[in-house]
Assembly symmetry: C2
Homo-oligomer: 388 residues x 2
């Protein structure tokens, strides 16, 4: 009752590596099921011979057992199934299978033609370094908080943080458009504060407001922030949508670096047998969705990510991905000034260090805390470059 | 270094019930940490006495141990922390804590004033029944597939499915705007097909295209679908964004029933100790985000949801929620015509039964399969109403 259909395809395919928490032969059967569920989602015996079976249904490119209880399958899909859209690409990668408790997306491998059709990062590491006029050293970031402060207090904080030499002063992801610190007023005053500090220091600190909102409102706030002189934009794709973040990155009337925040996305990584790997989610997918820097909770802080997972994310931020520029890993979450040398030993120069509350706890004088953060980075950078 | 701030708040608070996978006293400490992490995300000892500590930081309203290894805390937050926006509300509920492996959102409890500021469902059960002219019986739905069919084959299927008495013929969530079945052409022809069948049958079947895309494109497709005469809209909020779905539901120039698809959201529910409960995600949150019906995988199908979880979702679709109308539970995923009586015994009349591939497998004649699906529903409905 389904007609045979010729499907006009290029022959190009993208690949997804899945880890399957099952023993043989179940693991292999699950791999075959992924091929169907993620594409035609239809009884195979009711599809006539032809292109739908031959090219639309996913194909197992390789399969092996990692150990007795875990298989690993690489499955390829016709590029055309993605409609050359990020949201539909992710749907094919993991839409329905996100509801299965035993399959995890480890990585994606996309041909350049598909990646070129997506937005991707507008700036990447090199572009962001150029804007900040920081050609080589690690980049310093902090977050404006706590929620509840009025705009005048937040802009005063912004001024002091910029005076202290912090490169990127971003809104905490909990600041949106609450009555106690409305978005437009906050953006205008914090931009003014950072510009005033920059005139005094000669630095190029930037203020990065949080534009996360529902649907089109995110883009509206991004445009407002651009017009008001903000230096970049914080977007939480778990709330605004990955496609919305990609739209913000791609919009020519915005044209600002995008910083991706991991809030509300954590559930993809808390089950080791399911969800999406840290590297694929916070590295590859954030990058495909236009992030120039990807924030994630660092090892040893308030969250549960391990060293290896953080290493994987940082690697995925720069590994080849269809010709996209490399982006910054941006570890944060319970970091302290004392840990700067350890973090830089781990990440090297191409990192944005996000120290939020810890910067306020370090000592009684906020300005001095910022300067110490900056000194640690400068000192490490000098020594590191001499060693190199 | 943080000034004391007076925060103008109404005193109204919303409540979130969290299940915490830890023994005493850790579970209680985690509850206290949630209060801070989800709001000020700042060292408490660096916040001066005043409103930020007293009203912005979350408050434990109740705490008890469910068993030796699981605590349960109800935490309240000032309504103002949400900025009266869905995305920020979800950020306070679970933004950073989504990254913790031992805390699960069980339910939210929102005051009417907050719910009224969100969009919510435009139609709900009563509105959708009125459009379909189906005042009381269970509603029938199927999905157009497989991916790869051209528009002419999809519209022919639509015609036959409508002729067979299926109330709602929706795009499979994998049909977006691929070259083999482009969105605009597909919508126009499937609308025409369903209207042609309706003229013959006198039924009021509706075609529901999938408008899921990146950011503002979702709204653009929704407007096109409305203008073309579609009966409703399929949105996958895990891909488009929950806020985007809410925007579509609220847009007066769209004004169509919204059907929420669970793809890419499954990772929130696959870890029993983390994420979000089935009822909160597919019941409460889908409803707050404007869904008139919430699709989810039924027990006993291809997915792993259990009977109790499905019951919880169905209950959350209609339980009091700040004055919002009740919406339809829409179980699907591997359902068959033979299971209709069992499903209706379980769900009663107020359900949309989604049978996709199973409708094509039931027998050799698609039209007859549809009519049998319809007969089962009509028969059950008659007997059920006589019993009542």
């Amino acid at each position: 009752m389904i007609p045979a259909a010729a499907v006009d395809v290029s022959g190009e395919r993208f690949r997804v590596e899945y880890r399957i928490a099952a023993a043989e032969p179940d693991a292999r059967a699950i791999a075959r099921d992924i091929c169907v569920e993620q594409t035609v989602e239809f009884p195979l015996d009711r599809i006539p011979d032809g292109d739908i079976r031959d090219v639309i249904v996913g194909q197992i490119e390789s399969f092996h057992m990692d150990d007795d209880r875990h298989g690993r399958a690489t499955i390829s899909y016709a590029v055309e199934t993605s409609g050359l859209e990020l949201t539909q690409l992710l749907n094919v990668v993991f839409g329905n299978y996100s509801m299965k408790p035993h399959v995890r997306v480890e990585r994606v491998d996309l041909p350049g033609a598909l990646v070129a059709a997506l937005a991707g990062p507008r700036f990447g590491q090199a572009g962001l370094r150029s804007i900040l006029e920081v050609p080589a050293r690690p980049i310093l970031c902090t977050a404006l908080k706590p929620m509840g402060l009025p705009v005048v207090a937040l802009s005063d904080l912004t001024y002091r943080l910029a005076l202290g030499g912090i490169d990127i002063i971003k809104d905490d992801h909990g600041l949106t458009n609450q009555a106690f610190a409305p978005f437009e007023d906050r953006v205008c005053r914090c931009v003014e504060a950072v510009e005033r500090a920059n005139r005094e220091t000669g630095f190029r600190s930037m203020y990065v407001p949080n534009v996360t909102a529902g649907g089109g409102d995110t883009l509206d706030r991004a445009r407002f922030a651009r017009a008001a002189g903000a230096g970049g934009l914080l977007v939480t794709p778990g709330l605004a949508g990955l496609g919305t973040m990609a739209n913000v990155a791609a919009a020519d009337d915005v044209g600002l670096p995008v910083f991706s925040h991991p809030a509300f996305q954590g559930s993809y990584v808390t089950n080791p047998d399911a969800g999406i790997s840290h590297a694929a989610l916070f590295g590859q997918i954030a990058r495909l969705a236009g992030a120039d820097a990807s924030i994630y909770p660092n090892f040893g802080g308030r969250f549960s990510f391990g060293r290896e997972e953080c290493r994987d994310i940082a690697n995925a931020c720069v590994a080849p991905l269809g010709g996209l520029p490399g982006i910054f890993p941006m570890p944060g979450g319970g970091m302290t000034v004392q840990r700067v040398p350890e973090l830089l030993d781990f990440y090297g120069n191409d990192v944005i260090l996000l120290i939020g509350g810890g910067l306020f706890q370090h000592g009684p004088d906020l300005l001095e805390n910022c300067r110490e953060f900056r000194r640690w980075v400068d000192r490490w950078n000098t020594e590191y470059r001499i060693q190199k």
